[in-house]
């Protein structure tokens, strides 16, 4: 008895079947799709583009800020180091400062300590640098 042979589909038949299956799937995808409205997509794109433009512009500002802070700290440390070195070498002027402080504020004997005087000097120098930096940063002219 002869067994029935399975007929292989031709390329054209395969193409037709595949095309039909995908076309149905595409129609299904088209009905499933719920894309946001064009107005929303446009608005989001605008917002994102603005945000990116702002971030791009802020990058050099951040770098300059970081450099300014680093320079300020370096300057302050060098001033403190210089003051410490001078203090080690000669305590004459420090004595004058402490005497002046003691004379100005007689009720606070703690101010006469040399270390407090050094700290006060450093703070004064820092305040001076900070005010110069603030002037450079915020003055447009």
């Amino acid at each position: 008895m002869k067994t029935p042979t399975r007929v292989q589909p031709t390329d054209a038949e395969i193409e037709a079947i595949v095309a039909d299956a995908i076309a149905q799937e595409a129609a299904c995808a088209g009905s499933e799709a719920q894309p946001p409205s064009s107005a929303i997509v446009w608005w989001r794109a605008q917002m994102r583009a603005r945000q990116e433009a702002t971030q791009l512009a802020e990058k050099p500002i951040t770098i300059v800020h970081a450099l300014s802070i680093a320079a300020g700290i370096g300057l302050m440390l060098s001033v403190v180091g210089y003051v410490a070195a001078v203090m080690k070498g000669s305590r004459g002027w420090l004595a004058t400062v402490t005497d002046l402080a003691a004379a100005a504020v007689p009720s606070m004997p703690a101010l006469t300590s040399p270390w407090v005087a050094v700290t006060l000097t450093a703070m004064l120098v820092s305040a001076l640098i900070a005010s110069i930096a603030a002037f450079v940063i915020f003055s447009d002219e």
Binding site: A19, G30, P36, S38, A45, A49, I61, I137
Partner: protein, 187 residues
């Protein structure tokens, strides 16, 4: 030499951009018309090539944003559309490189759990399951050819392949999908 004040002025200009339109590759009306013509088909391409509707939702906006930010001078609507599909193809490829599995055993999990409302839902699930077992490039090839009706040169442009190789790749992809849809083919 750029001074700090110049940098601050630039910064100020950028902040002023918050209240002005930023430069994008298309004007609003042209974009909205193009989006309305292409978004549904693009969503279908994204969802069927990635195998994940959520990914398609996420990538749709990104595709159009990248198109808007591109500096490519488009010669025609078809050129712009092909470029959009190339962006989509690259985004799907990048998403696939991530850790998130797009297919569970060759088919999106949501498809298996979806209520079968129509008589042909089972058949569609078979098609999806079969497509899920194809390679991503094969899915994209077949979709572009038979869902989008793209020419070989357009497919080559979108997928970054040689035009001459598309015919053979399509032939193989068709055969593979047909084998996966074997009961349907034999009937």
């Amino acid at each position: 030499m750029t001074t700090y004040l110049d940098v601050r002025r630039l910064h100020g200009d950028a902040l002023e951009a918050d209240t002005a339109d930023v430069a994008l590759a298309m004007d609003e009306d042209a974009f909205r018309a193009f989006y309305d013509r292409t978004s549904r088909a693009l969503w279908g391409y994204l969802s069927r090539t990635s195998g994940d509707r959520q990914v398609a939702d996420d990538l749709l906006q990104e595709c159009y944003y990248r198109l808007l930010k591109s500096a490519v001078p488009f010669e025609s609507e078809a050129h712009r559309r092909n470029y959009l599909y190339r962006i989509a193809t690259n985004l799907v490829r990048d998403t696939r490189r991530g850790t998130r599995p797009l297919f569970a055993d060759g088919v999106e999990v949501a498809d298996l759990e979806a209520p079968q409302a129509h008589a042909d839902a089972a058949e569609r699930a078979d098609v999806r399951r079969a497509m899920g077992r194809l390679k991503p490039r094969e899915r994209a090839l077949l979709w572009l050819a038979y869902a989008q009706g793209s020419s070989h040169s357009e497919i080559a442009d979108v997928l970054g392949l040689k035009t001459g190789s598309i015919k053979l790749l399509l032939f193989r992809a068709r055969r593979k999908l047909a084998a996966l849809l074997a009961p349907k083919v034999s009937s």
